[in-house]
């Protein structure tokens, strides 16, 4: 059934007619104006002004960030070019680093070096002792975490040398001057026990010294 406004509107008249006296009061009219003004400003502020200002501020921030980024990128490119030049300059020296701090424990080459140092210094290398040494550095073993170790991996080598004062002194100097990174943890020098000296030695036993050294040598894990 269609809505007939001429007849049926009368029944709703009482509602809007009852509102009329309220709006005739000046105080109510004022309150209503103020309330709707606040609500309108809030609504438009949230849905219209905020996105606009936010976009403006975002774009300004983006411009500032991109400008700074551009400058930092240029600095980094310059630094990379400079580093490449330095690298080419020091490239012949790089194998030296591997010799000083090998990527593997390289125990046998180290022992050979100690033996050669002893021969060059004129002392007798009588003992070499070492605890268990890994054959490969930890980073090459499967299943190992790739996080860097807390301290530089190293192993301890205990050696005993016998010789004259000058020889022992030269040996210590040469060990200190080895390219392989070695630290002397402890050293104990004592006169050689006369009963211990080989009868084949041409040196007088009273002048012989025996030095026990605890060396620590390092290797690299990547």
């Amino acid at each position: 059934m269609p809505f007939n406004y001429k007849t049926e509107l009368k029944q709703y008249r009482k509602y809007y007619q009852s509102i009329e006296p309220i709006f005739t009061k000046p105080s109510s009219r004022g309150y209503t104006t103020v309330i709707f003004s606040f609500l309108a400003v809030s609504l438009f502020g949230w849905y219209a002004i905020r996105p606009t200002i936010q976009t403006i501020l975002y774009l300004r921030r983006e411009i500032a960030d991109k400008t700074e980024l551009n400058k930092e990128m240029e600095d980094k490119i310059s630094a990379l070019i400079e580093a490449q030049a330095y690298y080419q300059q020091i490239e012949p020296l790089l194998p030296v680093v591997d010799q000083a701090l090998p990527p593997q424990p390289d125990a046998v080459p180290f022992f050979i070096q100690l033996r050669n140092v002893a021969s060059a210094s004129g002392v007798l290398l009588s003992t070499i002792q070492t605890p268990t040494i890994p054959l490969v550095s930890n980073s090459l073993q499967k299943g190992q975490a790739t996080s860097p170790p807390a301290s530089q991996p190293a192993y301890i080598v205990t050696i005993q040398v016998r010789g004259l004062y000058d020889g022992v002194k030269s040996f210590l100097t040469n060990v200190n001057n080895l390219r392989r990174v070695v630290t002397v943890d402890s050293i104990n020098i004592s006169p050689t026990d006369t009963t211990h000296v080989s009868s084949q030695s041409a040196l007088p036993s009273s002048r012989l010294l025996q030095a026990s050294l605890e060396l620590k040598t390092y290797y690299l894990t990547k």
């Binding site: 309150y31 309330i35 606040f38 400003v41 921030r61 960030d65 980024l69 330095y86 690298y87 680093v97």
Partner: protein, 64 residues
């Protein structure tokens, strides 16, 4: 009359709340960087200096 006053208070508080909300949103926009974390990692400054003195000192040591 009391009804009008209540509605006015509600609208005023709504207005101030919206104003504060807008202010904080705008402050957040200003303070938040637009550079991604990956880009920030890329632009970490690089020192191109290499300690040549140490390398030379190592090279001067002996291998037996």
């Amino acid at each position: 009359m009391d009804n009008d006053r209540d509605l006015l208070l509600i609208s005023v508080f709504t207005f101030f709340t919206v104003c504060l909300w807008i202010t904080f949103e705008l402050l957040k926009t200003v303070k938040t960087t637009t550079v991604s974390a990956t880009t920030q990692q890329i632009i970490i400054p690089l020192s191109s200096k290499i300690d040549v003195d140490t390398l030379s000192a190592i090279a001067n040591k002996k291998v037996y």
